[in-house]
């Protein structure tokens, strides 16, 4: 018996046959990407985009999704080379081997995810208020975030099926808007002239660029797909298809929804509304009671936003967990709840940071600073992401010729360069147009630096004298 044990040991070490089962098929991944992208912006930001561009705001969505999809190509190539959960930080580390830069990317990604959660939570509150407008906004957003944190702690999000059902609901909501648009056109009321109208101030090109900068938030979320890369069946084939397919589907849906909204509702009304897609439903174009449709649509919008926010909460605690393992933030973030197997401290910390952002935003607003928290946080998210996306494309180009085999997906180089330029132009515009966003960017980055300093101050007690930070093979006192 002992002999078989040993021979088995060897054969296991060599081939390790039939032990890989992965659970995420290409189709599930497609819905994961689609659900992540769709929820994140259109429900929340379409009014702001319409206000920035004018009737032709569908162009902003079209351009935005193009730049994002080009970035998605770089992601697809890198994911097929390195199918691990770490995403952008991993790619930048592979390409540049520069610790501070990797740290910066990780913190930027974390910060963008915090800002996105805050923005989405505020968007959720606005749809919630249209159903029941009693509770104060801040209370709803905080309760919403707390509920998602608890859901993630318990682990309900594990279900891939739940995720897919939520995506169906999201798409259904947008199809409702499109049906209203088609109905309106069929009635012959549509004025297609609206679609070529631009905001009267300034040049059309600048109007579109400013719209893209806002609409870009709606295209984000696809980068979270790297979270599930390791568990995708046949990632080299499935990943590029699902990622690019999901983004293009989202783009087509966005453009059609934007056209439907522009045709059916006055652009000024859209721009002034906090929950702009509801205005389309409220216009009472299809012969279904408006009251019923409003509530139904608001619920759909809330589900859509919930789906995306759930993923971003998962991403935050995952990044913190990885950083704690790396020993750049305090080890408490790597603490796993003994039975639920969730990073309790990481989830709680994310909740506190996002809640803090929302409270600060609300207080500044009360103090008369006139800040729209949703738009502000959306811009901050976009600043971080454009920076990360640009660097991911550069990493992709730099890693050409490394770790490749015959079935690695290879993105088209000219397209990647166009994507890179697009990201940089947008980044330049956002910073030029809204330099104040740098304060928020700096504030969020400071959280990362504080965490690092806490680790430096506390962590040295955990390490034997002379040991390097992140040195593998050192077990900590608490681990023994």
């Amino acid at each position: 018996m002992a002999d078989t044990g040993i021979t088995d040991d060897r054969s296991q070490a060599d081939g390790r046959p039939d032990e890989l089962t992965r659970s995420i098929t290409g189709r599930l991944l497609y819905f994961y990407v689609l659900g992540d992208v769709l929820g994140s912006g259109i429900y929340v930001l379409i009014g702001a985009v319409a206000g920035a561009v004018g009737g032709a705001f569908f162009l902003a969505f079209a351009v935005g999704v193009t730049v994002a999809t080009l970035t998605g190509l770089a992601y697809a190539e890198l994911v097929t080379k390195y199918p691990q959960a770490a995403g952008a930080a991993l790619y930048v580390n592979k390409a540049f081997r520069n610790k501070p830069l990797t740290f910066l990317i990780t913190i930027s990604f974390l910060s963008s995810s915090f800002a996105a959660s805050g923005s989405l939570a505020s968007g959720f509150a606005e749809y919630f208020l249209s159903v029941w407008d009693l509770p104060p906004v801040l209370l709803i957003t905080l309760a919403f975030l707390l509920a998602l944190t608890i859901i993630n702690f318990i682990g309900i999000t594990e279900s891939v099926v739940t995720n897919m059902l939520m995506t169906f609901v999201e798409v259904a909501g947008l199809i409702v808007v499109m049906i209203i648009g088609v109905w309106y056109i069929a009635q012959g009321n549509a004025d297609f002239g609206t679609l070529t109208e631009f905001n009267s101030e300034g040049s059309p090109i600048l109007a579109v660029v400013s719209g893209v900068a806002l609409a870009f938030f709606a295209m984000t979320g696809f980068e979270n797909a790297a979270n599930v890369a390791e568990e995708t069946i046949d990632p080299k084939k499935a990943f590029p298809r699902a990622l690019v397919g999901g983004m293009i589907s989202a783009g087509v849906i966005y453009v059609l929804v934007a056209i439907a909204a522009a045709l059916t509702v006055d652009v000024g009304t859209l721009a002034d509304s906090d929950a702009a897609l509801l205005e389309v439903v409220k216009a009472g174009i299809i012969p279904v009671p408006v009251g019923f449709m409003t509530i139904l649509f608001a619920i759909i919008a809330m589900i859509a936003i919930t789906n995306t926010t759930l993923v971003s909460v998962v991403t935050q605690s995952r990044i913190l967990y990885g950083m704690a393992k790396e020993d750049v933030v305090p080890s408490a973030f790597a603490k796993i709840h003994p039975t639920r197997r969730s990073p309790v401290f990481g989830l709680a910390f994310s909740f506190v940071v996002v809640a803090g952002l929302l409270i600060v935003g609300t207080l500044l607003n009360r103090a008369g600073a006139g800040i729209d928290v949703v738009e502000r946080l959306a811009t901050v998210t976009v600043v971080f992401l454009l920076f990360i996306y640009a660097l991911v494309i550069v990493s992709c180009l730099k890693l050409r010729g490394h770790d490749e085999d015959e079935d690695t997906f290879r993105a088209n180089t000219p397209l990647l360069i166009i994507g890179l330029v697009g990201n940089l132009v947008l980044l330049g515009y956002v910073l030029y147009d809204d330099p104040a966003s740098l304060w928020w960017v700096g504030g969020l980055l400071a959280i990362g630096v504080v965490l690092y300093l806490v680790e430096v101050a506390m962590g040295s007690r955990n390490r034997p004298p002379g040991a390097e930070r992140g040195d593998p093979g050192i077990a900590r006192e608490g681990d023994r």
Partner: protein, 158 residues
């Protein structure tokens, strides 16, 4: 008899494997499959608290839950190989309870070994723990190993 031992990377799951060794007759066990289940959509898809190497190795830059699961099953498999029976390892992904049951069905297992998991309010009322679901739906007997009474070792010492 084929035995499936499930691990979630926790010390309790290693204790469960040891508990099996403490009373079972290795001559009657033909094969043991050590299975770990990765939860791709959970905040931490798999956390390995067993193998010394993984306590530091994987970090923010190289985060690989598959490697974590790999080292967890290997740690338990290495212990079991000293005991006698042939040991296989398997990593699956999805919902832990249903993947453990699938593995038991696939290997035509005669016994499934799991650690008890929690007994708090959230575990029993809200979702039910993995161990409970495995007990309900497994195609064979299930050994649920309870850890030593709470706070016996680590918690009280802090």
């Amino acid at each position: 008899m084929h035995v499936v031992i499930a691990t979630d990377g926790s010390r309790e799951s290693l204790a469960a494997a040891r508990h099996l060794q403490s009373f079972a007759d290795p001559a009657k066990i033909t094969t043991i499959t050590v299975v770990a289940v990765i939860r791709p959509l959970a905040a931490v898809a798999f956390a390995d608290e067993l193998s010394p190497a993984s306590r530091k190795g994987a970090g923010a830059e190289t985060l690989s839950f598959r490697e974590a699961a790999r080292s967890a099953v290997d740690t338990i498999a290495t212990e079991l190989r000293k005991w006698g029976p042939k040991v296989k390892t398997k990593i699956r992904s999805g919902s832990p309870a249903s993947e453990i049951i699938k593995e038991a069905e696939l290997t035509d297992a005669g016994l499934v070994v799991v650690s008890a998991g929690g007994r708090g309010l959230t575990d029993t009322v809200l979702v039910g723990s993995t161990a409970q679901r495995v007990q309900h739906y497994a195609p064979c007997p299930v050994l649920v190993v309870r850890a030593a009474p709470r706070g016996g070792s680590r918690k009280r010492s802090r």
